[in-house]
C-alpha cells in the first residue's frame, strides 16, 4: 500500500502531461485486461500502456487486477456460488442436484474467466517485457489469483458442497464401475438390467442418465482443474468414498470368508477404481479437452499408494477383529492368514493385533466355561496359525502368554495334553499326529545350525519381542515343546503320562500293549530314553505277566478236576517301584476269590524263587454272568468290589449297607455307590430300612438286553492312580515335619526363609526344586486356616502349646 502511495506521489510530481490522458489510458488498458470482448485497437492499447509505463503506473496494473478480483469475489461471485448451490432446497432429485452442482461451478468459472484471462494477458506482457513492464509473469499472477479464490471461496464452506460433491462422485463412480464392470464381466450385475433400474444411476432404465453423469464428471473435473480447486474440493470426498467402498466391498466379500485369498481379486478391482480416479483427477492436459490423468502421473501414483494403504489397513482391521475365528478354523483359514500376513507387513498394526487377540483369548477362551481340551485345541491352532503369520514367533509368544498362564491354573491340563499325545482325547488328534511326525531334537538341530545361515541374512527381532535369555533362535514353534514347557519341566509330564499309562494298562484285559509300546517309543524320541525308563519297565511287566499267566495256566490244566482253582484268575504283576503310586483301598474279597489268589501266589512263588505277590484286591476287572430265576445277565464287566458285592448276595439274598460294608471292609459310601450298578441292572433293589434284596423275578425286562461293558453311570471312570495334586499334597505333607522343626528352633520365619531352608535341608529329593514359593505359601496358608500355624506381619510361627 505504501508503495502505491509513493508511486502516486511520484506520478503527481512528474506530471506535466495531461491527467486526462493518463486516466483515459488507464481506462482503456484496464478495460482491455478485464473484458476480452472490449474492442480497443491494438495501437491504442500500446499507446496507453506506454503512457502508463512512462508515468510509472504500470506496476499498479497487476495489483489493481487482483484487487478487483478480490472485491468482485467477496461482493458477488462467492455469495452467488453458494446461493446457486443451495438454491433448490431439497426439492430436486439427484440428477437435478448434480446439475446444480455443475452449474454453480460453471457460473463460477464464467465469472472468473475474465480476470483469469486478464491476468494471463498481463502476465504475458510482463514476460515479454513490453514497454518496460516487469512482474511475476502469468504463472505467478495466476498463482496469486488462485490463492485469493481459494481463500475467499472456501473460507467458510457450507457442508452442502461436500455433500453434493460426495453424492456426485459416488454416483459417477457406480456408473463408471457399471460400465467397466460390464466390459470386464457381465455377470457382476445382471439383475440390474433386468430389474428395471439402471445399476449405474439407480433410476428406471428409461430415465438413465449414466452417460450424462460421466459427461458432467468430465466437465466438473475440467472446471475444477482450471480453477485449481480440484485438490481442495475433491480429495476429501474421494478419500471418503474410497474408504467407504473398500470397506463395503470387503464386508460383502471377505467377512467370515477365510478359505480364499482376496488379494488378487482386490488388486484387479483397485485397478478398475484407479480408472475412475483418472477421470476425476483429469489434469488440464496438453490439449484443451480434459484428458484423463494417466496412471503414471504423480497424482495417480500417489492415489494408487493411498488406495493400497487403505486396502491394507481396512483388511487388517477386519481380520484383526476376526482373528480368533480365523485361528479356530485353521488350517482351513490358511488363505486368510496369508493375506493378513501380506497386509500386516504394510501397516503398522502389530500392536493392535496383539492387544486385540489377547483380549479375544481372554474373553472368549479363558474362562471356566470352556473345557480344557478346547483351550488346548485352540492353543494348538493358534501355534500353527501364528507361526504362519509371523515366522519370528513373537506374536505367538506374546499373544499366547495369557493362555499358557491360564492353563497353568487348570488342574487337568497335563492330563489333557497327555491324553492328546496318546490319542485318547476325543476330537483332538493334532497332538498324536504331531508326536508321530518326528522328534524335535533333530528338527531343532537343523534350525540352529549356525554355520549354515549367512550372517547377512540376519534379521533383528521385531520391536515387540519379549526380551528374554533365549534368542529368536530358540523361540520354539514346536507344538509339543510349547505345550510341555507350559509347566517348565518335563518331569511333570512324564509322571502324568505314567499315570495315564498305568490306567490304560490296568484296564486292559488281554495284555495287549502294541499301541502303548508305540507311544512310549515316540515319547522316547522326544523326551529322551532315560525319562521314559519307568514306562518301559511297566510295559515289560505286562509282557512278563502274560508269560507268567501262560505258565500258570498250563500248570493248572495238568491238574485233576477237583484240584482246579475255584475261579479262572489271571493277574497283572507289577514292579511296584516303577509304577506310579496306586490308590490304596481296603477291600476284603469273598473267600472263594481269596483262595484262588492264594493258589495263584503259590504257583508264582514256585515259578520265581524267593519272590511273592502282594495283591491289590480293589484293582482289576471281572467278567461274570448273573443267573436269576427268569433271566440271565451275561458277560458283565465290573470292578472287583462290584463282583464281591454280588458274590455276597449269592450266599444271602438280603444285606444292609452296614453288613456289607463290614463284610467287605470298605467304607459305606463307597459300597453304596457301587451298589448303584446292580440296582441299575435291576438285580438288586433297596427297600425300607436300608436293606437290599435280590430281584429274582425281573419286572422291567427292557434293561436285560444290555450287556457287555458297563460303566458306572454315577461316577466318572475313576483313575487307579492317585492324581497329581494328591501326590503333591503328600509331598508337601512330608515337609510339614521339617517346617515344624524349623519353627520350633527358630521361633518365627518368613516365607522366603522357610523356602530357602527347605531347599537346603531337603536338597536330596527332586521335589523341592520343583516346588515354587507360591505353592509353599498356599500350603502354609492352609495350615494357618487349620490353626496349626500362626501368621502375623509376614512371619509364620507355631501356636503356643496351651
Amino acid at each position: 500500500m505504501e508503495e502505491m502511495m509513493e508511486d502516486s506521489e511520484s506520478v503527481e510530481m512528474s506530471g506535466p502531461e495531461p491527467v486526462q490522458g493518463v486516466a483515459a489510458a488507464w481506462d482503456s488498458v484496464s478495460a482491455a485486461l478485464v473484458s476480452p470482448g472490449f474492442s480497443v485497437s491494438d495501437q491504442n492499447l500500446v499507446d496507453g500502456l506506454a503512457l502508463l509505463c512512462r508515468r510509472g503506473l504500470a506496476p499498479l496494473l497487476g495489483v489493481w487486477l487482483l484487487e478487483t478480483l478480490q472485491m468482485r469475489l467477496s461482493s458477488s461471485v462467492v455469495p452467488e456460488f453458494w446461493c446457486g448451490l443451495k438454491q433448490p432446497e431439497n426439492e430436486l432429485e439427484e440428477r437435478g442436484r448434480a446439475w446444480v452442482l455443475l452449474t454453480a461451478f460453471r457460473t463460477l468459472l464464467d465469472r472468473l474467466e475474465p480476470f483469469l484471462s486478464g491476468l494471463e494477458k498481463l502476465g504475458a506482457w510482463q514476460q515479454e517485457g513490453r514497454c518496460g513492464l516487469s512482474g511475476p509473469g502469468p504463472k505467478g499472477l495466476k498463482e496469486q489469483a488462485f490463492t485469493t479464490i481459494r481463500a475467499l471461496l472456501l473460507f467458510s464452506p457450507s457442508p452442502v458442497l461436500q455433500e453434493r460433491v460426495l453424492e456426485f462422485y459416488s454416483r459417477t463412480f457406480s456408473v463408471y464401475m457399471k460400465q467397466e464392470g460390464n466390459a470386464e464381466d457381465g455377470a457382476e450385475a445382471p439383475d440390474g438390467s433386468e430389474g428395471g433400474a439402471c445399476p449405474g444411476c439407480g433410476v428406471p432404465l428409461h430415465q438413465c442418465w449414466c452417460l450424462e453423469a460421466l459427461e458432467q464428471l468430465q466437465q466438473l473435473s475440467h472446471i475444477l482443474s482450471k480453477l485449481q480447486l480440484l485438490d481442495w474440493v475433491s480429495s476429501e470426498a474421494v478419500t471418503s468414498i474410497l474408504h467407504k467402498l473398500i470397506e463395503q466391498r470387503m464386508e460383502q466379500h471377505c467377512r467370515g470368508e477365510y478359505e480364499r485369498s482376496f488379494l488378487l481379486n482386490f488388486q484387479e478391482w483397485l485397478e478398475l477404481v484407479l480408472g475412475w480416479l483418472g477421470k476425476v483427477f483429469a489434469c488440464e492436459g496438453s490439449g484443451d479437452g480434459p484428458a484423463p490423468a494417466s496412471l503414471a502421473s504423480p497424482v495417480m501414483k500417489q492415489w494408487r499408494c493411498h488406495m493400497h494403504q487403505f486396502f491394507c489397513r481396512i483388511y487388517v482391521n477386519m481380520r484383526i477383529e476376526e482373528l480368533f475365528s480365523i485361528i479356530r478354523d485353521f488350517p482351513e483359514s490358511k488363505a486368510a492368514i496369508e493375506d493378513l500376513k501380506f497386509c500386516l507387513e504394510r501397516t503398522n498394526q502389530r500392536q493392535q493385533l496383539l492387544t486385540s487377540l489377547k483380549s479375544a483369548f481372554e474373553s472368549r477362551l479363558l474362562h471356566p466355561g470352556v473345557h480344557t481340551s478346547d483351550i488346548l485345541t485352540v492353543y494348538i491352532s493358534a501355534i500353527k496359525a501364528l507361526r504362519e503369520l509371523d515366522p519370528s514367533m513373537v506374536i505367538l509368544q506374546v499373544a499366547c502368554q495369557p493362555i499358557r498362564k491360564y492353563l497353568r491354573t487348570r488342574e487337568d491340563t497335563v492330563r489333557q495334553i497327555v491324553a492328546g499325545l496318546t490319542g485318547d482325547a476325543e476330537g483332538c488328534t493334532d497332538l498324536a499326529s504331531e508326536l508321530s511326525r518326528g522328534d524335535p531334537v533333530t528338527l531343532e538341530m537343523q534350525d540352529s545350525d549356525d554355520e549354515g545361515t549367512d550372517p547377512e541374512d540376519w534379521t533383528p527381532d521385531p520391536t515387540d519381542a519379549v526380551p528374554d535369555k533365549l534368542g529368536s533362535k530358540r523361540r520354539s514353534s514346536d507344538i509339543i515343546s510349547l505345550l510341555v514347557s507350559i509347566y517348565g519341566s518335563k518331569d511333570i509330564f512324564i509322571d502324568e503320562y505314567r499315570g495315564v499309562l498305568a490306567d490304560r494298562l490296568l484296564q486292559q484285559l488281554n495284555y495287549n500293549t502294541a499301541r502303548e509300546i508305540r507311544n512310549v517309543e515316540l515319547l522316547k524320541l522326544r523326551f529322551g530314553e532315560s525319562h521314559m525308563h519307568y514306562c518301559e519297565v511297566m510295559l515289560k511287566d505286562m509282557a512278563d505277566s502274560r508269560r507268567i499267566n501262560g505258565n500258570i495256566r498250563e500248570e493248572e490244566s495238568r491238574l485233576s478236576e477237583d484240584e482246579q482253582p475255584p475261579l479262572p484268575l489271571s493277574a497283572i504283576i507289577l514292579s511296584s517301584e516303577f509304577w506310579p503310586t496306586l490308590k490304596e483301598e481296603k477291600l476284603e474279597l469273598p473267600p472263594v476269590v481269596c483262595r484262588a489268589m492264594e493258589a495263584y501266589t503259590h504257583r508264582y512263588e514256585k515259578l520265581k524263587a524267593m519272590r511273592t505277590l502282594s495283591w491289590k484286591p480293589h484293582l482289576g476287572s471281572v467278567i461274570l454272568d448273573v443267573e436269576l430265576e427268569d433271566r440271565i445277565l451275561t458277560n458283565l464287566t465290573v470292578s472287583p468290589i462290584q463282583a464281591a458285592i454280588i458274590l455276597h448276595f449269592q450266599d444271602k439274598s438280603s444285606w444292609t449297607l452296614e453288613e456289607l460294608s463290614g463284610k467287605l471292609g470298605a467304607p459305606k459310601e463307597l459300597v453304596h455307590r457301587k451298589l448303584a450298578l446292580w440296582q441299575q441292572q435291576g438285580v438288586l433293589r433297596e427297600e425300607a430300612g436300608g436293606r437290599y434284596y435280590v430281584v429274582e423275578m425281573g419286572s422291567s425286562m427292557e434293561k436285560l438286553e444290555r450287556g457287555g461293558m458297563l460303566i458306572d453311570s454315577d461316577e466318572e471312570r475313576d483313575s487307579n492312580t492317585t492324581t497329581q495334586s494328591e501326590q503333591r499334597e503328600e509331598k508337601l505333607q512330608l515337609f510339614w515335619a521339617y517346617i515344624q522343626a524349623m519353627l520350633t528352633n527358630l521361633d518365627s520365619m518368613t516365607l522366603d526363609r522357610i523356602h530357602s531352608m527347605l531347599r537346603i535341608f531337603v536338597a536330596t529329593g527332586p521335589v523341592v526344586t520343583e516346588m515354587d514359593i507360591s505353592e509353599l505359601e498356599a500350603f502354609l496358608q492352609k495350615k494357618v486356616r487349620e490353626q496349626q500355624l500362626l501368621m502375623s506381619a509376614g512371619v509364620y510361627r507355631l501356636p503356643k502349646p496351651t
Binding site: E536, I572, L613, K616, V622, L624, Q650
Partner: protein, 84 residues
C-alpha cells in the same frame, strides 16, 4: 441267584521275600534294581549269604571283587558264602 465268574483279572505286585527293604550296598529298594540295571526282578536278582544278609547280586559281586584279602559280608563282616 447264581453268579458265575468267567474271568477275574487281578492286579498284584511282586516283591522279594527278604528281611529288609533296601539293599545294604546300594541303598536302593530290593524291589527296584541295582544302580547298574534298568529292569528289576529276573534281570537283577537278590542273593542271600549264609549270614542271612541279602543284596542285589550285582552289588555283592562288585563288592566281593573289590576285596583282595578275604571275602566278607559288608554288613556283619563274617566270611561271605552264598546260601545254597
Amino acid at each position: 441267584m447264581k453268579v458265575k465268574i468267567k474271568q477275574w483279572n487281578g492286579v498284584a505286585s511282586w516283591l522279594w521275600v527278604a528281611n529288609d527293604e533296601n539293599c545294604g550296598i546300594c541303598r536302593m529298594p530290593f524291589n527296584g534294581c541295582c544302580p547298574d540295571c534298568k529292569v528289576p526282578g529276573d534281570d537283577c536278582p537278590l542273593v542271600w549269604g549264609q549270614c542271612s544278609h541279602c543284596f542285589h547280586m550285582h552289588c555283592i559281586l562288585k563288592w566281593l571283587n573289590s576285596q583282595q584279602v578275604q571275602q566278607q559280608c559288608p554288613m556283619c563282616r563274617q566270611e561271605w558264602k552264598f546260601k545254597e
